[in-house]
């Protein structure tokens, strides 16, 4: 065990592993790129419609049920299924099928949380906002969304971490990223490489979690406090 860990440390200290296309910096960068891309696009595709639907309290069970179906789709299957599609569309192998699969992964939690978050906002808050003369849009953006922001941003955080872990599957369809160390190491039964890859992914996941928590703390209290204070002042 100690010997193995020693080999892992040696792997990290080897300068050859820090240069070139298969070096740690490049693979980490590729991984970060796809995580940011997939999470942001998923957020756009999921949060905006979900907020509107939640505001109008339309769709409800049907929509949430349909999105729940997405949750049951195996990421491994989607990454492989996307391949003939992206090749056919001229987008090639590697990045695009992985990106598509990650969208499938990230959209459900963000959609469901945005919908239930906005739909579940305290009716008193909304009544108060209307009472003040806020339009539909103002109410949505000024009251409902900030009130729901904790759950929404929590979902983005959870989704981002899941994307980091699952992006490793991209190595199966010719992409790079940290999954390369896992897949290539497995192919030649080089456990040190696999372990190092796993450590890097776990590390990146923790960093992502930390960053997103900081974002949460930065964005949410302001919104909640402001909305709360305004309503309180107005109500009095």
């Amino acid at each position: 065990m100690i010997e193995f860990l020693g080999e892992v440390v040696a792997w990290f200290l080897d300068p050859a592993h820090w240069t070139g296309a298969n070096g740690i910096p490049n693979r980490v960068w590729e991984h970060v790129q796809i995580t940011v891309a997939a999470t942001s696009v998923a957020a756009l595709l999921a949060i905006l419609p979900a907020i509107v639907l939640g505001h109008r309290k339309q769709g409800g069970t049907l929509v949430v049920g349909a999105v729940n179906l997405f949750r049951a789709v195996p990421s491994f299957g989607i990454v492989v299924l996307a391949l003939p599609i992206t090749i056919g569309l001229g987008l090639g192998i590697g990045f695009w099928p992985t990106f598509l699969a990650l969208l499938f992964l990230a959209i459900p939690p963000m959609f469901i949380n945005s919908y239930t978050g906005v739909a579940g906002v305290d009716p008193d808050l909304i009544e108060a906002a209307r009472g003040v003369g806020m339009t539909d849009a103002q109410c949505l953006l000024g009251v409902e969304v900030p009130a729901a922001s904790p759950i929404i941003i929590a979902a983005v955080r959870v989704a981002a971490v899941q994307v980091v872990a699952t992006a490793t599957l991209g190595a199966i369809v010719g992409w790079g990223g940290l999954g390369r160390y896992i897949i290539d190491g497995f192919a030649i039964q080089d456990d040190v490489m696999v372990f190092a890859g796993a450590l890097l992914v776990a590390g990146l996941a923790l960093v992502t979690e930390g960053l997103m928590s900081a974002v949460e703390r930065w964005l949410v209290p302001k919104g909640l406090q402001t909305a709360g204070n305004e309503v309180a002042r107005i109500a009095v």
Partner: protein
């Protein structure tokens, strides 16, 4: 190429194989969730007896969860081989976080007055757990089991890479036959049936919960 995507002929020729692999998939899932539940139940009771253990246990199961499944299976292969055991160790590990969290939350969620009333009636600690806390916590616990089951069904596909696989077998086979309808059909079958299996299992669990605790509505997971 996209037009010549699906081959019903392949499906009808392979109904036997499809059934076998689906059953294999279900079996791997059931074993994982069953043992995952036993282990997490034990962990949960431990946590409830000693609160200080909650943070470390959650941290440990949480760390297991962040390890990419591929890596966990890959690292186990030299130790436990291309076996069902390797697949199960990995699959069970991923169920622990959600099951512990939900079991603890479920039992915690039993209202104090109920516990006090039962204690007042002379229930021992053990009777309290089995006759009062668990039945009342069941909806939340089963909500956790549902998510664990659906997650496991997705992960079982990955075990195709270590010689197991269930429906993942078709996905992997399809990967090497990408440009023919035979290949893409297999991938589609693998994905679609995984989803169907997940829905069926989810419904079965909801049904189980209703049967066991008819007084409670199905709860969302924590």
């Amino acid at each position: 190429m996209i037009l010549a995507f699906f081959s019903w002929e392949w499906v009808f020729d392979h109904l036997d194989d499809i059934w076998d692999r689906t059953m294999e998939h279900l079996l791997l899932t059931v074993i994982a969730v069953f043992f995952g539940f036993l282990i997490s139940f034990g962990l949960s009771i431990t946590v409830l007896r000693n609160r200080r253990l909650f943070a470390p246990i959650t941290a440990f199961t949480g760390v297991l969860y962040t390890i990419p499944s591929l890596a966990l299976f890959a690292l186990l292969v030299p130790i436990t081989g291309l076996s069902v055991l390797t697949a199960e160790i990995g699959l069970i590990s991923y169920t622990l976080l959600i099951l512990v969290r939900n079991t603890v939350a479920g039992i915690d969620g039993v209202p104090m007055p109920v516990l006090e009333a039962a204690a007042g009636m002379g229930y021992t600690r053990r009777q309290l757990l089995w006759r009062v806390q668990l039945p009342l916590a069941l909806p939340v616990i089963i909500a956790g089991v549902r998510i664990a089951a659906v997650t496991t069904i997705g992960l079982v596909t990955v075990t195709a890479l270590i010689g197991q696989g269930g429906l993942g077998f078709f996905i992997l086979r399809g990967l090497s036959l990408l440009f023919s309808p035979v290949g893409t059909t297999q991938i589609v079958v693998g994905v679609v049936l995984s989803v169907v299996l997940a829905l069926v299992v989810d419904l079965a669990l909801v049904g189980t919960q209703r049967a066991l605790t008819p007084w409670a509505k199905a709860k969302e997971a924590v």
